[in-house]
Amino acid sequence: MTSNYVGTEERYAVFPFYLCLDVSQSMTGEPVAQVNRELPAIRESVGQDPAVAEVVRFGVVTFSDVARTVLPLSDLALVEVMPTVEVEGRTSYAAAFDHLRRLIEVDYQTGRLSGERWYRPAVMFVSDGRPTDPDERWREAHRRLVDPLWRRHPNILAFGFGDAVPDVLAAVAENKPNRAFMATEGANPSTVVPELMAGLVQSIVSSSASAYTGSPQLVPPQLPNMQAIPVDELE
């Protein structure tokens, strides 16, 4: 009979989530204000529950002309204050994907040094517009991010509203079923953003529960004013 040793210091593998937020000019006004109002709710719901916080690591990246890490990947129970985001310039998807590629690698290596084990990270990509960089440029950056030969490549959930393009979002989510969502036509951003953030919390909490089973799943959120973008099943 083989032996499995379990000690007090042994921790569960963690489930890293990166919220990648579009902060281009089109987010000016109510959308960005809503984001800033709802970000603390993620900390409240995820970080204040010891069982959920134990297995979830959460980071926030914003992107416009450039991408920035506004909240490094953290144990939300230990996050004192959530950051606020500000509107900047254009909508460079390439900047976001390049930044995520570097960030995930660095976070993984840092976590590994401190003894953390990781499940495949998840990126929650939120945008209200179409990419302003050349098509080939952002697709190349995206290809590097989801490259199957890179062992840390994340699973991506993509959410769009406003001027976001469903086909582009589907491509960001690698054309996988139930991974890309678009707000229903005419939906008000002031309604969509809070629901989206609540859906993200629900997705994180449900995914964290599955992390305890040893067979984690990225659970997509249920969003009343959003519809999953249908994608073809590849042959």
Partner: protein, 521 residues
């Protein structure tokens, strides 16, 4: 408000649940929402029956998502009434330590329950985070690193291995003892067949989120979600479906489930016993041991339970570790120890820790002073035979005594250059989101003041020396007589003998150099 009668044909009083009409119920705000239904506060507490609903206690109303037949839920709601009639002491435990449903709420359709009334968790089972509102004190706080809880939430919990942690598990074992009817002196209750008229209750989801704890004023537990419990009853009048364990598989919590139960199968009495053993490991060890996935994967499970260095003073307790091993076994499921065995074992442990009063206070707070009888398998000094130690092939639990390390937790703020909600005053980050070293746990000690050195007096000083001398000898002898700790005991005994020798030499020197000349020898 009016009571609603239930369909006739229930033979025993215990089969007749108290029912309340939904029209008479005035509910307040939504308190919680889960997969099975919504929980509301009850604004108008119904006063229907003295001793149960007329106590003035606060109640909550759980509105079921799927309406159920009254007959289906009757055994669960009637369990407490039947227990009250036959075993008031056990009923007191259930009432003190669980939100057991006290009445069904029926709608317009006869015989259909739309929800149930349950007592609300008392105030001592709530806590406040550093910056938040009241939260239920779930077992998650005790099954985590205490330093992390202090840094993250400002919640101070006892260190691993502390007697209050043992007492919390003891309170849970006493509750399960009442539910499962073991250890109350009836042989009929020891088998798997329930006694006529008094069923056995299976909660099935004794997870961290469903078990609340409190240390003030007394270590205690309060189990939620009891409306999903099942009661097996052998009442001849009960419908056949009630005589089986469980109606259907209830949703269990990942990481707090019994790996021996296949998906879709209702957890039974052995599952609650598994979770009691798991609760002991996680609460006393203050760690969230990842066990189930490995147990499902097969192979022997070896658990190193890290305990504080102070446990070295305790004698070896192979039976306690045996209880852990048997509880967690997925091979010998029927051999999992009864809650009574656990309760008796924990009473003994608390006694060894010098905290027997904690056990007595737990019993008093649960309204049943009787000590646990041990279910006939956990031999102790109360006169029962001490059977051979039972071992299981698939689990080994080993205590590992270590000094606690300094805490490595620290708070994290927004990235440098990013404004937080509180402006620039937010904490800065050390490393990429990794906790920065915190200022370690604060050691609380009495120092020399505790020994009375400041104003000893010769008699007091000699008395304390004699007391310490006796304690050192007793401890060494006890360890030498304990299986598994003999080497440690022998080493201590050698040290004690060396000290005795040194003391004798000093005494002889003093006698030879001071006392003898003084008396003229």
């Amino acid at each position: 408000m009016s009571a609603v009668s239930v369909p006739d044909g229930q033979g025993t009083p215990g089969d007749t649940p108290l029912c309340v009409s939904a029209q008479d119920l005035v509910v307040g705000q939504l308190l919680a929402e889960g997969g099975e239904g919504k929980v509301f506060e009850v604004r108008t507490a119904p006063v229907l029956r003295d001793g149960i609903l007329g106590t003035g206690a606060a109640f909550v109303y759980k509105e079921l998502r799927q309406q159920r037949e009254v007959l289906e839920l009757a055994p669960t709601v009637s369990f407490l009434t039947a227990l009250e009639a036959m075993e008031p002491g056990l009923a007191a435990r259930v009432r003190a330590s669980s939100a057991w449903p006290v009445a069904l709420v029926v709608g317009e359709a006869p015989g259909v329950a739309v929800g149930c009334l349950m007592p609300r968790a008392p105030g001592c089972f709530w806590l406040r985070h550093r910056d938040g509102g009241p939260r239920l004190a779930t077992l998650s706080y005790l099954a985590s690193d205490p330093d992390r809880m202090a840094f993250a939430y400002g919640t101070v919990v006892p260190p691993p291995g502390a007697p209050p942690r043992v007492a919390v598990v003891y309170a849970l074992a006493r509750l399960l003892e009442a539910w499962q009817g073991t250890g109350v002196g009836s042989d009929a209750l020891q088998g798997s067949v329930p006694r006529d008229g008094l069923g056995r209750a299976v909660h099935g989801d004794l997870s961290a989120k469903n078990v609340l704890w409190s240390l003030d004023p007394v270590p205690a537990v309060y189990v939620l979600d009891c409306d999903g419990a099942t009661v097996a009853t052998a009442s001849p009048s009960a419908p056949a479906r009630m005589q089986a364990w469980g109606r259907a598989a209830r949703a269990t919590t990942p990481n707090w489930d019994d790996p021996a139960v296949a998906p879709g199968v209702a957890p039974g009495l052995p599952s609650d016993r598994y979770l009691l053993g798991l609760a002991f490991l996680r609460v006393v060890g203050a760690a969230h041991f990842p066990l189930q996935a490995r147990q499902r994967g097969g192979g022997k499970l070896n658990v190193d339970l890290e305990l504080p260095h102070s446990w070295r003073r305790l004698p070896d307790m192979p039976r306690l570790w045996g209880l852990c091993e048997r509880s967690l076994s997925v091979v010998d499921i029927d051999g999992r120890p009864t809650p009574s065995e656990w309760a008796a074992g924990l009473e003994e442990l608390l006694q060894e820790m010098g905290s027997a009063d904690l056990a007595a206070r737990v019993r008093a707070s649960q309204g049943d002073q009787r000590p646990s009888l041990g279910g006939g398998q956990f031999g102790d000094e109360r006169g029962r035979s001490s059977p051979a130690l039972v071992t299981v092939p698939d689990v080994e639990v080993r205590p590992v005594l270590r000094r606690r390390k300094l805490s490595a937790w620290g708070l994290v703020g927004p990235a440098p250059g990013v404004q937080g909600q509180l402006g620039a005053g937010g904490a800065t980050l050390a490393g990429h989101g990794r906790p920065r070293p915190g200022p370690g746990s604060v050691a609380v000690g009495t120092g020399l003041a505790g020994l009375g050195v400041g104003n000893p007096g010769l008699r007091q000083f000699v008395g304390r020396c004699a007391e310490a001398w006796g304690a050192a000898h007793r401890l060494a002898l006890r360890l030498m007589l304990s299986r598994g700790r003999r080497v440690d005991g022998f080493r201590r005994f050698i040290w004690v003998l060396v000290l005795d020798l040194v003391a004798a030499c000093v005494l002889l020197f003093l006698v030879g150099e001071i006392v003898s000349p003084w008396i003229g020898l």
